[in-house]
Symmetry: C2
Subunit: 353 residues, 2 copies
C-alpha cells in the first residue's frame, strides 16, 4: 500500500453562474478568469507534488473532452485516466467510476471539483497530509473550510469529537444543507461549523464499500459501465446504457450523510468556489480605485466595480459597485450585490429562445 | 419674389457626444436613434410642405457625402444643391455658401442644424409662417425655444419689444452665451429668454449684406469658393483654397450678435438637440419600467435606464438610472446624470491611442 494519493478531478459540471462568459460549451472550470490558467488547470497544478501525488484521474463530460485534453496538454501533466461520462449523473456515480479506475483497491483518492480556487496551496496540501492516516484507516475525510461570513450558498459540516490520534481532525457530527441567513449566522457565531467544499480524501475500497451498502444499484451501474468501457490511450469511455441506469445523486446525499466513519479536517486555504461574479471580485486583485478589471477597459471616476471585457472595449464614468461583463456579443450589467441573479437573466433569455 | 422658403440644412457637424454610436465617420445627424429615420432625414422631412418650401440646399462635409446622398435618396427628396465643404469653417461660412447658391438674392432661407429633433412639426412650421413677413422685410429671424428648465448647455436669446405688425415676434435684445446655473435660473424665472436653437429665417441678400458689413473677408472667401466651384449634378464642391481662407466662425458671433434687425420668434415645438444620451432618454418613449430600450435587451428589476444595443445583446438585473450603450465592439456605462461626461471618456481613449 502506497502513501501516494491519486487526485480525482471532477470536471463534468456545466453552469451559467458566470454567464455570459461561462456557457454550456465552455463551463466555468475551463475559464481563466483569475490569471493565465483555467480553474481546471489550477486544480491539476495543485496536485503536482510528486512526494504526495500520483498522476490524476479526470472525470469529465464527453462534450468537453477536447477542451479538457487541450488544457491538460498545456500543463504538461499526463493523466492516469481521463474518464468521459456518457451522461451526467451527479458526483456519486462519477466518483464511483474513478474509484473503479484505480489500480489498487487501497489507493487513496483526493476528490476535488475542478472549478474552485485555492490560494494557499501549501495550507491545503498540509491538511491533506495530516488527513492521510485517517483515510488509510478507512475514514471518509471531508475538508471543512473555515467560514468568514454567514454564507447561505453553501452546505455546512458540523464537527463532533476530535478523532483520537489525529492532528486537528474531527468526526463529522452533521451535514447541514444550504441554510437560511438566521441559521448561517447562528453557525458562524457558534463555531465548529465549516463549509462543505466538496473535497474528499478516502481509499477507493472504503468509498466503494460504503456505496455498495448505501446505493447498491449505483455501484452496480458504475461497475457494469466500467466493465464495458471503451479505452483509447488514457481515455476511458464507460458503457452508456449501463451508466445511464445509475441513479443521479451527489456524494453528499448518497454516501457522506449516511456513512459512519466520516471525518472533517478544518482548513482555511483561501478557498472560493467562484460561484458568482461578485465572488470573483472578492478573490481578485483590485486596482487603486478598487476596481477588478480584465481586458480593454477605460474607467473614470469609477470604483469598486468588476469589469470583464472579453474581446470588446468597455468604458465607464461615475459608476460604483457594478458588475459589467462583455463576452461573445453579450453584455451584462448588474450591481455586485445582485450577482447571484445571473441565473434569472439566463432563464429569461432561454424563455425567449 | 416668391413666398416659398429654401430649407438650408447644415449637416457638416461631427461630434462624439453620443459616443460610441456617434463617431467622426458617422456623426449624430446620420443616426436613427429615435425611430426609423436619421435626424438628417427628419430635418429633410420637416420641410416637405410644398406650399411652404422649395427643395432644400444641403451643406455638408465631403467626408460624409456618400452617407448623406444615400440617406437623401431614401427620403425620395431631391436637393436643389448639395454643397460639400472642403474643410470645416463653422456655420457662418457654410451659410454663406448656401446663400450664394440661392437662385435669387431675395430667396428666403430657413437655416437648420440637421442633428436636432422637433416633435411638433406643425408648431414649428406655424412659427416659420408667422415669421415670413419679417424675413421678407429684411429681418434676420431667430427661433427661440421656450425653456422648461435652467439649462446651462445652450445659449439664450432675450426678447426686446414686440415688433409692430408681427404675430408674437420680438426684436432680439441680447444674445447670452451658455450661462452658469445661477444665471440660467434667473433667466428662467424672469421669462422673455429663449434657447438659441441655431434655426434662422432670412433672405439670402439680407444675410450676405450683413456678412459683408461684419465679416467682409469671410464673404469674399465664400464668393471665391463658389465662383471656383466644381459642379456635378446637384453636388457643388467649392474651391478648397478659397474656402480654407475663410475665418472659422459661427453665425451667432459673426452675424447675429452684431446685426441690427434681428428678431426672435418664440416657439415650443418639442425641440431637442439630442446633445447627450440623457437628452435622448428624455425625448424617447419609455416602457412600463421607464426604460428606453433599443435592440436586443433583457431587463429584470431594472428601471429608468437608457439601454442601446447596437448589434450586441445587453442584459441587466437590478439597475437604475444608468445609460448602457453597446456599439461597434464598444460598451459604455454611466449614470444618466453623468452623460455630459462622455467626452471625458473619448478624450481618455484618444490619449491611449
Amino acid at each position: 500500500m502506497t502513501d501516494l494519493i491519486t487526485p480525482v478531478i471532477l470536471s463534468g459540471g456545466s453552469g451559467t453562474r458566470l454567464w455570459p462568459v461561462s456557457t454550456d460549451e465552455r463551463p466555468k472550470q475551463f475559464l481563466n478568469l483569475n490569471g493565465p490558467l483555467s480553474m481546471f488547470q489550477l486544480t491539476l497544478e495543485r496536485c503536482l507534488e510528486p512526494k504526495l501525488f500520483n498522476p490524476p484521474i479526470i472525470v469529465g463530460s464527453t462534450k468537453h473532452a477536447a477542451l479538457a485534453e487541450k488544457q491538460l496538454e498545456e500543463t504538461g501533466i499526463t493523466a492516469a485516466a481521463h474518464i468521459l461520462e456518457p451522461c451526467a449523473r451527479n458526483t456519486a456515480p462519477a466518483i464511483a467510476l474513478a474509484a473503479l479506475a484505480c489500480e489498487n483497491p487501497q489507493d487513496l483518492m483526493l476528490v476535488m471539483p475542478s472549478d474552485h480556487i485555492i490560494k494557499n496551496v501549501s495550507a491545503f496540501q498540509k491538511a491533506v497530509r495530516q488527513s492521510l492516516p485517517l483515510a488509510k484507516a478507512r475514514w471518509l475525510v471531508t475538508f471543512g473550510i473555515t467560514p468568514n461570513k454567514p454564507e447561505t450558498g453553501y452546505g455546512y459540516i458540523q464537527q463532533g469529537d476530535n478523532i483520537v490520534g489525529s492532528v486537528d481532525s474531527f468526526a463529522a457530527k452533521r451535514f447541514v444543507e444550504k441554510p437560511n441567513m438566521e441559521n448561517a449566522e447562528k453557525m458562524l457565531a457558534e463555531g465548529g461549523h465549516y463549509w462543505n467544499a466538496g473535497i474528499f480524501l478516502f481509499r477507493a475500497d472504503t468509498f466503494l464499500s460504503v456505496l455498495g451498502e448505501q446505493a447498491p444499484e449505483m455501484l452496480e451501474a458504475a461497475q457494469k459501465a466500467m466493465d464495458g468501457a471503451h479505452r483509447d490511450g488514457t481515455q476511458v469511455k464507460p458503457d452508456e446504457p449501463s451508466f445511464a441506469s445509475a441513479p443521479s445523486d451527489s456524494i453528499d446525499y448518497a454516501v457522506m450523510e449516511k456513512a459512519e466513519k466520516v471525518a472533517v479536517t478544518p482548513v482555511d486555504p483561501g478557498w472560493s468556489d467562484v460561484g458568482s461574479w461578485d465572488s470573483l471580485y472578492e478573490i481578485s486583485s483590485a486596482d487603486d480605485q478598487s476596481n477588478v478589471v480584465t481586458g480593454t477597459v477605460t474607467m473614470i471616476e469609477s470604483s469598486n466595480n468588476l469589469v470583464h471585457a472579453d474581446g470588446m472595449e468597455i468604458s465607464t464614468y461615475g459608476i460604483e459597485n457594478l458588475i459589467i461583463v462583455a463576452s461573445q456579443n453579450k453584455v451584462m450589467v448588474m450591481p455586485r450585490s445582485e450577482s447571484q441573479n445571473v441565473r434569472k437573466i439566463v432563464m429569461e433569455k432561454n424563455k425567449d429562445n
